[in-house]
């Protein structure tokens, strides 16, 4: 068990270094930050001096080494754009992204599960067909378009919900701000959460439906029916339970991608999260923020995958037997 964890940890570290290396190579193609940092009056000599002082003239390998060294100490420097420490900037923005991701993940899971079960049980129902057709829209429409459409209907025409921002937030301790506790904060969450969760919701719904149909065909369901158990006990007690294992795995893994790919939703709704921060940083070639953001996303994926691997190890006895067999 310990050897397994150590091996996975080592692999995770290698993944992180690889992500850092790839992103660093990419930064060379994003452009020159100096132009955005100085006014148009700055002389060429001044620009060179600033470039020198930031170490941008050093060979890329040296810059990379310096970045890794600092990153190991949790030090990501000062943002070129906002002049604030990068770690603080990201930590400040993280609550907004995590709250949005959690709400949309939960929404996707609950609604997706309910609709999936319903369409599996009432396979030929009219409503089921309507839901299945509508879900195609969720899968195929780009997030950007869905966001703009929702804004148009609910903010501009009906004026029920705010079009952008996070509403009023309440600070919890030094490092967390929440929108859950205010009315405007909760209202502001609705549209972006629906936009971000729609794709996952249709994905989960289709997954649940397919798994459920599969399980309903198995022998033990037939036997359960034959025993005279109520439809409710068969469907929810036996069938649904057995569908849930893959669904939970997928939902967990999708949570990582919701956080990582909230960029578009955050841009459309002007949501002050890390995704919007990243996009603004790319426009400005704010290398310290871009590097720290990509490292953070890599870390989130690595941690989630590590947890999933460990869960498999705990859940699936075959993995353990295999290892034990090899050891002897």
């Amino acid at each position: 068990m310990i050897a397994f964890i150590l091996r996975r940890l080592l692999q995770s570290v290698i993944v992180m270094i690889a992500v850092a290396a790839v992103s660093f190579t990419l930064f060379r193609f994003v452009g020159d930050p100096i132009n955005s940092m100085v006014g148009q009056e700055a002389s060429i000599a001044d620009r060179q001096a600033l470039r020198d002082s930031l170490g941008l003239n050093d060979p890329i390998i040296l810059q990379f080494g310096r970045f890794l060294g600092n990153a190991l100490q949790g030090e990501f420097g000062i943002s070129y754009r906002l002049q604030m420490p990068v770690t603080e900037l990201i930590l400040q923005r993280l609550p907004a992204t995590i709250e949005l991701a959690l709400v949309s993940g939960l929404l996707a899971f609950v609604v997706g599960l309910a609709l999936g079960v319903y369409t599996a049980l009432r396979r030929r129902g009219v409503l089921s067909n309507v839901i299945m057709t509508a879900s195609l829209i969720g899968v195929s429409l780009p997030t950007f378009l869905i966001g703009v459409l929702l804004i148009w209907v609910f903010a501009v025409e009906l004026r029920w919900l705010p079009s952008n921002g996070r509403g009023e937030v309440v600070a919890l301790g030094d490092w967390w701000s929440t929108g859950f506790l205010t009315h405007s904060g909760r209202l502001a969450l609705i549209l972006p959460a629906v936009t971000l969760g729609l794709y996952q919701m249709t994905l989960i719904m289709r997954l649940v439906r397919a798994e459920m149909l599969e399980v309903l065909r198995t022998d033990y369901i037939k036997f359960a029916r034959a025993r005279g158990l109520s439809a409710r006990a068969v469907n929810f007690g036996h069938a649904l339970k057995n569908t849930l294992v893959p669904v939970i795995t997928i939902t967990g893994l999708q949570l990582g991608s919701i956080i990582a790919f909230s960029i578009i939703t955050e841009t459309v709704f002007n949501w002050p999260g890390v995704g919007a921060l990243f996009i603004n940083s790319v426009r400005f070639v704010d290398v310290p923020v871009m590097a720290a953001y990509l490292m953070m996303i890599a870390l989130i994926f690595v941690v989630i995958n590590l947890i999933v691997d460990l869960l498999y190890y705990a859940v699936d006895p075959r993995l353990r037997v295999d290892r034990a067999g090899k050891a002897h």
């Binding site: 020159d32 009056e41 030090e75 906002l82 002049q83 903010a155 079009s163 952008n164 009315h183 002050p272």
Partner: protein, 525 residues
């Protein structure tokens, strides 16, 4: 937010009632723009949105009115020292206080000079001719220049004055230094003399300002300003349509017509201090991107042909949807040195242009055009339209459009043959254009002269106007320089940009030529 909007619309109607009764009332303006101020440090970033926001908090010695003229602010008057033409004498306003209550004196101006001239300041180049400042008495400052600088007060409109005691107490005597790796206190805290003081700031989310009771000028009608950057154009406009903001500064040209027809929303347009032009390398013996052996732009015929082929009115109608002022003059109209003759342009003549090209290159030639796609209004579309126009006369242009962070280094490193650039003139004087775009690149001159134009006579004239004190004589030399530059067709100007502000009905905001609206001058119907 809905609640807030409701409360605000209530308070707006209450304000209307109160105004009818002749009483003043608290009024909030929610102001949305494409980008946030990068910092609140007054001497760090010489950048549009940063200056526009800071102007509400920090005062300047001299202000720029909407018509482009200079008006007194913290300095009530200024003159060249009667005995020494290299000294500017500034007479300061008395009885002004900073937001923390301390008095504004000559010491603060001298200190602000030291800070703005510091190595890490973003405004050093604007005050490059300043040797030092000295307080003569409590309300008089002598600014020693390296030579006579008759137009220097034009450079004071973006020079914010900070409180010396505050800066020293908070250890912010110098602006942010990136390499030091620490955040400066002044990045998020302010103490100015401006009409508004900072209430709260969440970078890139919301900045709240409220009126400063001790402001020396007329009490503003707008008592609270909520500044919200909204980078996405569709969201910005939606926020205005849904009543969540009152004033949108960056309105995309394609939305203007629709917004004009929307009830409750007004559009104000005005010329911006920025012209958009093409420039090309006519100096080097060869080009990097052409298929001919010599440099096609070195032939006057080709430069003339390109001028004949550029259909400025078509660009205005199709690309800019009417939101531009076509012009052949490579400078905005408020700038000293601009003339009607320079501005005038003829109708395109493709036959004559094609003939001129054929006279040099019977089979035409090809060249690459470098263009930014995220810097100016519809910049990429302007380039695309021009590629089509030049194609009609036998110039096969391949378009390389990319982000500004990749485009501008091409000009700086002289790696482009033919490019698009926009230029604003913050000093409102031609010398600024000459110094950066026309003079041969050497020392502090010619930083944006990507076409490598070089004419020793013109260079000598440019250097001479820097220290000329007789303004008539100086203007004559400026006219002479322009004559040469226009004759050599150094630039192929397209148009001047227009700005559009969208506001909720009842707010009267003037379009500022530097795109730096002043909310304390806003009136409310």
């Amino acid at each position: 937010m809905t609640k807030l909007a409701r409360a605000l619309s209530l308070s707006a109607s209450a304000a209307a009632l109160a105004l009818a009764a002749g009483a003043a009332q608290a009024e909030t303006v929610r102001w949305a723009r494409v980008a946030d101020a990068l910092t609140l440090d007054p001497h760090s970033q010489n950048e549009g949105p940063t200056l526009a926001l800071l102007r509400h908090v920090y005062g300047t010695l001299v202000s720029r009115a909407v018509d482009g003229s200079l008006t007194p602010d913290l300095a009530t008057s200024w003159e060249i020292h009667p005995e020494d033409p290299t000294i500017w004498v500034l007479h300061l306003r008395e009885g002004v206080t900073f937001h923390d209550g301390s008095a504004f004196t000559a010491e603060d101006v001298v200190f602000s000079y030291e800070r703005v001239l510091h190595e890490s300041s973003g405004f050093r180049a604007i005050h490059a001719d300043v040797v030092g400042a000295e307080a003569v008495d409590e309300y008089t400052v002598h600014v020693q220049m390296s030579g006579p600088s008759p137009l220097y007060p034009n450079n004071l409109t973006n020079f914010f004055i900070v409180d010396k005691t505050w800066a020293e107490a908070n250890d912010v005597v110098a602006p942010q230094n990136y390499a030091a790796g620490e955040e400066n206190f002044a990045v998020r805290n302010t103490n100015g003399t401006g009409p508004y003081q900072l209430v709260s700031r969440d970078p890139e989310v919301r900045t709240v300002l409220s009126v400063f009771d001790g402001y020396y000028g007329d009490a503003p009608q707008v008592t609270e300003v909520i500044y919200q950057p909204i980078p996405e154009a569709a969201t910005r406009i939606a926020a205005l349509l849904s009543g969540e903001v009152d004033f949108v500064q960056d309105v995309p040209v394609q939305d203007i017509a629709r917004l004009e027809q929307t009830d409750g929303i007004e559009i104000t347009t005005g010329p911006e201090n920025r012209n958009i032009f093409f420039a090309y390398n006519a100096t080097s013996p060869t080009l990097r991107s052409t298929n001919v052996a010599d440099n096609p732009f070195s032939h006057p015929e080709i430069r003339e042909a390109m001028a004949l082929a550029l259909d400025r009115d078509a660009i205005r109608q199709v690309v800019m949807r009417g939101q531009s002022q076509p012009s052949a003059a490579p400078l905005p109209p408020f700038v000293n040195g601009w003339t009607e003759e320079m501005n005038a342009y003829g109708a395109p003549d493709y036959e004559r242009a094609a003939e001129l090209v054929r006279s040099v290159y019977p089979d035409g030639f090809s060249v690459q055009l470098d263009c930014p796609n995220d810097r100016y209004l519809n910049d990429e579309a302007i380039c695309q339209a021009t590629v089509g126009m030049l194609g009609r006369i036998g110039i096969n242009v391949s378009l390389n459009s990319q982000s500004r962070s990749l485009h501008f280094p091409l000009i700086e490193n002289l790696e482009t043959d033919f490019y698009l650039l926009g230029w604003g003139v913050p000093t409102f004087d031609s010398a600024y254009v000459f110094n950066f775009l026309v003079h041969t690149r050497e020392g502090s001159y010619g930083a944006y002269n990507g076409g490598q134009y070089s004419n020793p006579e013109v260079d000598a004239m440019i250097e001479s106007i820097a220290t000329m004190t007789d303004l008539d004589e100086r203007n004559a030399v400026i006219a002479q320089i322009w004559e040469q530059v226009m004759e050599d067709r150094v630039f192929l100007n397209v148009h001047n940009q227009l700005l559009a502000y969208a506001v909720r009905e009842g707010l009267n905001i003037d379009v500022h030529p530097e795109n730096s609206p002043t909310l304390w001058t806003v009136t409310i119907d």
